[in-house]
Amino acid sequence: MYSAIVFLPLLGFLTAGLFGRVIGARGAQLVTSSFLVISALLSMIAFYKVGFGGELTRVHVLTWIDSGTFEADWRLRIDTLTAVMLVVVTSVSSLVHIYSIGYMSHDPHQPRFFAYLSLFTFAMLTLVTADNFIQLFFGWEGVGLASYLLIGFWYQKPSANAAAIKAFVVNRVGDFGLILGIATIFFTIGSVDYDTVFAAIPAMAEKSFSFLGHEVPIVTTISLLLFMGAMGKSAQFMLHTWLPDAMEGPTPVSALIHAATMVTAGVFLVARCSPIFEFSPFALTVVTFIGATTAFFAATVGLVQNDIKRVIAYSTCSQLGYMFAALGVGAYEVAIFHLFTHAFFKALLFLGSGSVIHAMGDEQDMRKMGGLYKMIPMTYVMMVIGTLALTGFPFTAGYFSKDAIIEATYAGHNAMHSYAFLMTTVAAFLTSFYSWRLIFMTFHGETRASSETISHVHESPMVMMIPLVLLSVGALLAGLIFARFFIGDLHEAFWLEAIYRGAENHIMHAMHEVPEWAATLPTLLMALGFGLAYLFYISRPDLPRELARTQEPLYLFLLNKWYFDEIYNFIFVRPAFWIGRVLWKQGDGRIIDGMGPDGISARVLDITRGVVRLQSGYLYHYAFAMLLGVAALATYFMLGGVH
């Protein structure tokens, strides 16, 4: 069963990828979607068996690498953490597959698109089922590849290609850290197998190893390097720049990869490695800091964006920051719970915005929308549900998971927990504001679209609406149903051994005992955000412009995303191009070619010209040369020669 969950998407990818021309667009849709649906149903069974039946399994697939002391088998590790991820990945992926049948119906390259989607799903599943770091890395790079291919799916668009390359390159920075982390694990422990490594870590807690003459603590080094990989994949502060640009890809891709699954791989990695992180308080503090900063930073940028998908992208970035903040204070279950609920409502928001874009004829700028709720009421309802869940409206999914994170940061113990509490609370307010801003700008007020566009606005087909409905059910009920198991009183029976917790870590209890004001504050701020958005975009639509004019520096600072792209461009990209150009023109062109092939051949031709000129055609020149030769040899011997 577990093998089927993982390998059915691979089968779908191979079928659609290799025989796409034979089976056509319809065939590719049916094959990949039906395989994914089967996989999703099996995942739910697995989730039930593991989460509620307590059944833990290892499935040995094949012996992969066995070289000296380096061993890496291909095994599926099924515990609660994996089961949760399986459900998230396969259910969102299958819904996105179905949704894409409608959304991509006019695209000439559908088999390729569905093949990539399935490839991504397979890679993501190998990542979450990995039983050692090498298998994890395989999946990790596989999702990176699929992400690259899907962002650049419309390869005729230069901006899509640029975004794909940017995503790949920024991810390389993180991956570099991950590789070093895995290498450090193998170097210090001599194995990459999860169980062996996790068992060996407690003994390493106080040890250090020598690197370039410095003594560095082992566990903190490993943790920080692994976290660097997580930062890249999960678009955390400083490595986040690729995620907004990745919205150049088709919207279903944004929903699947850049909201629900791939970007959460970093969260999964840290949760999976909880037995390592628990032994490095310093690393956890760093995780808290980065997560909280990202939550705040991305929310501020989201306030002023005008592209509907970019708003949601920054929102994703911000929510990932929440998850890391929870991880940082040791509340791994809470982070995974938020990952779980977030997958539903964020996929819902993305697919809903895709439905809006589809209706508007590929228009993404919210300034050219407005007043759409009458024309596409179904989509409107879905989007509102997603927004309620995201902002944490009572008893929706976000209410349980996000507020739990804020409480956990309040109850945390590390040096950054107050900072994290402050940042996440403020971000909750900002989240509410920008989310409702999106709804108001898109669906309410006077329409700002051209009459021609408006005349074409239509509700999306059923094949797109059904996934939306299913996701909205998840967004509404996931928190209500599962909160008890994930973070409530039943969490220990649910998680079993999947998450490790240090002896001093009592966060799961402490977070339920926070003061009343801290627990209700997020809800209050959420309401405040809604009110402010209503004021700005419904009652007084002239206020935002007025504010942007009076606070222009701040507005521009936010609009330009804190100038991260400009700074990176200045610090990394342009020097890299400059070095490249110097090495190319000067190093390769002038020195290597000039001294090497070009130079030598030019000198050869020079010599040739000289030699040919000797051949004058005059007899006396020839005779002179002969006599000169003889004279030279005779003189040489007369002077003694060389003996």
């Binding site: 051949s601 050869v604 031709l605 010599i607 040739t608 010209r609 030699v611 040919v612 000797l614 051949q615 055609g617 007899l619 020149h621 020839y622 005779a623 040369a625 002969m626 000169l628 030769g629 003889v630 040899l633 005779a634 040489y636 011997f637 007369m638 020669g641 060389v642 003996h643």
Partner: protein
């Protein structure tokens, strides 16, 4: 009576020379007193004569024999060289068959002169004394001067003959001067006695001078730098089959003579002549490689190519060992065979208006005559020394000999200059295969030329499969020199 009988020399060892001499006179008479236009018969007669001579040489299984008062020697070395000369002369004769008709130089003296030149070469190879050397050399040279200018209505041909004659006379003068110096200091002209005299005591500087002059005179014949200046002009001006002839047999004869003199008359002066040979070899290889790049006329290009190849051959000689001599012999055989093939291709470069000689005219040969283009490409790769073609093995054996003798720098310079040289050989391949096609050449290809090209091509390509016979024969020949 007994005294008279013993002074009458044994003619047996000189049988091939006698055969050629009588044959030349008979064919001359036939041509002079026969009916009009007997050139064709004379030419075929000459080829038959060569074949018979080859059979005689092959049938001679005696060891080392001296005759004519020790002036003439016959051994495995001379037989090897004479067969190679016959191959070179014979192929050149066959190549000229259709050429002389087309170019209006169909005169019976032409084959006869080639026979006489070949006879001169035989004498050179078998010479065992300075007088015999000079006799053979002059017989060869006088015949060659005439056939260089054989197309006497053509100014370039006449100029070539004249230049060759004047410079040849100069080199003969040097040679004679050297011989007289050697004779003056040793009192003998026979090789072994010279060696025996020099073995006792210090070598007089006069003999060193004599050696320098003798080598200069002989280096002229193999067109080694700096005595090469005549080569490009004469190769270009002379009729193409004559050029093919010049590039093959006379080089073999002169090289044989150099080896013979150095190894039997001056073995004790190895230190001196090695320096000369090294200098000449390096100069030839380098100049041949560089100068050929600047050529656009394929015959001039082949002139520089032959200069470079003689340089490579001398690398083996510079080693001064039996292995080195063996390397030289192998090199010469491969060189002569490849050369015959290349000149066959040059002879095919004929358009309706006449012969063309620019390498750009080869453009598009791969499409017009793919088989010939392929054969020429293989020959060019082989000349450049690309494995596994025959040319690679030629270079391999001489460089190995040089390395074994400790002449590392020489071998390295040789390899580097062969890299430079590869440029112009490969350029021809590039022109044939990749350039805009030029006008096609006149067809059909004469049968004898096709035959030579086929033999040459097959030898070049498949030498590496069964090289043993040549290696063994060269081994015997080289061993005969150093008893």
């Amino acid at each position: 009576m007994e005294h008279v009988i013993t002074t009458l020399p044994a003619f047996g060892p000189a049988m091939p020379e006698i055969l050629l001499g009588i044959g030349a006179i008979v064919l001359l008479m036939f041509g002079a007193y026969g009916r009009e236009n007997e050139t064709r018969i004379v030419l075929i007669g000459a080829i038959i004569l060569f074949l018979v001579a080859a059979l005689v040489i092959l049938g001679d299984e005696a060891g080392r024999v001296e005759t004519f008062g020790g002036m003439f020697v016959s051994d495995a070395f001379t037989r090897f060289m004479k067969l190679l000369i016959l191959f070179g002369s014979g192929t050149a004769m066959m190549m000229s068959h259709s050429f002389i008709k087309q170019e209006g130089m169909e005169r019976f003296e032409f084959p006869v002169l080639m026979i006489l030149a070949t006879l001169g070469m035989f004498m050179m190879v078998s010479a065992n004394g300075l007088m015999a050397v000079y006799l053979g050399l002059e017989l060869q040279s006088l015949a060659l001067y005439v056939i260089a200018a054989f197309n006497r209505d053509n100014a370039r041909s006449s100029e070539a003959g004249l230049k060759y004659f004047v410079l040849g006379a100069l080199s003969s003068g040097m040679l004679l001067y050297g011989m007289s110096l050697v004779y003056g200091f040793t009192g003998t002209v026979a090789f072994e006695p010279i060696a025996n005299l020099l073995a006792n005591g210090e070598t007089p500087i006069g003999v060193v001078f004599g050696l320098v002059f003798i080598l200069a005179g002989l280096a002229f014949k193999i067109s080694a730098v700096p005595f090469h200046m005549w080569t490009p002009d004469v190769y270009e001006g002379a009729p193409t089959p004559v050029t093919a002839f010049f590039a093959g047999a006379p080089k073999v004869a002169a090289m044989a003579l150099i080896i013979r003199i150095l190894f039997t008359a001056f073995p004790t002066m190895l230190a001196e002549w090695q320096q000369i040979v090294v200098f000449v070899a390096i100069a030839s290889m380098v100049l041949g490689a560089f100068a050929a790049i600047g050529q656009n006329n394929i015959k001039r290009l082949m002139a520089y190519s032959s200069i470079a190849h003689m340089g490579f051959a001398m690398v083996g000689l510079a080693a001064g060992t039996e292995t080195g001599v063996r390397g030289v012999l192998i090199y010469l055989v491969i060189y002569v065979v490849m050369n015959a093939g290349v000149f066959c291709c040059i002879l095919l470069m004929r358009r309706k208006e006449g012969m063309v000689e620019s390498i750009d005219d080869l453009a598009g040969l791969s499409r017009n005559q793919p088989m010939i283009a392929f054969a020429l490409a293989m020959l060019m790769f082989s000349l450049a020394g690309v494995p596994p073609l025959a040319g690679f093995f030629g270079k391999f054996y001489v460089f190995m000999a040089a390395v074994q003798a400790g002449l590392w720098p020489l071998a390295i310079i040789g390899v580097l200059s062969s890299v430079v040289g590869a440029f112009y050989y490969l350029r021809i391949v590039k022109i044939m295969y990749f350039d805009e096609p030029a006008e096609a050449f006149v067809k059909p290809v004469p049968g004898e030329i096709n035959a030579i090209l086929t033999v040459s091509g097959i030898f070049t390509m498949f030498f590496f499969i069964y090289p043993a016979p040549l290696l063994v024969a060269a081994q015997y020949a080289a061993a005969a020199l150093t008893p």
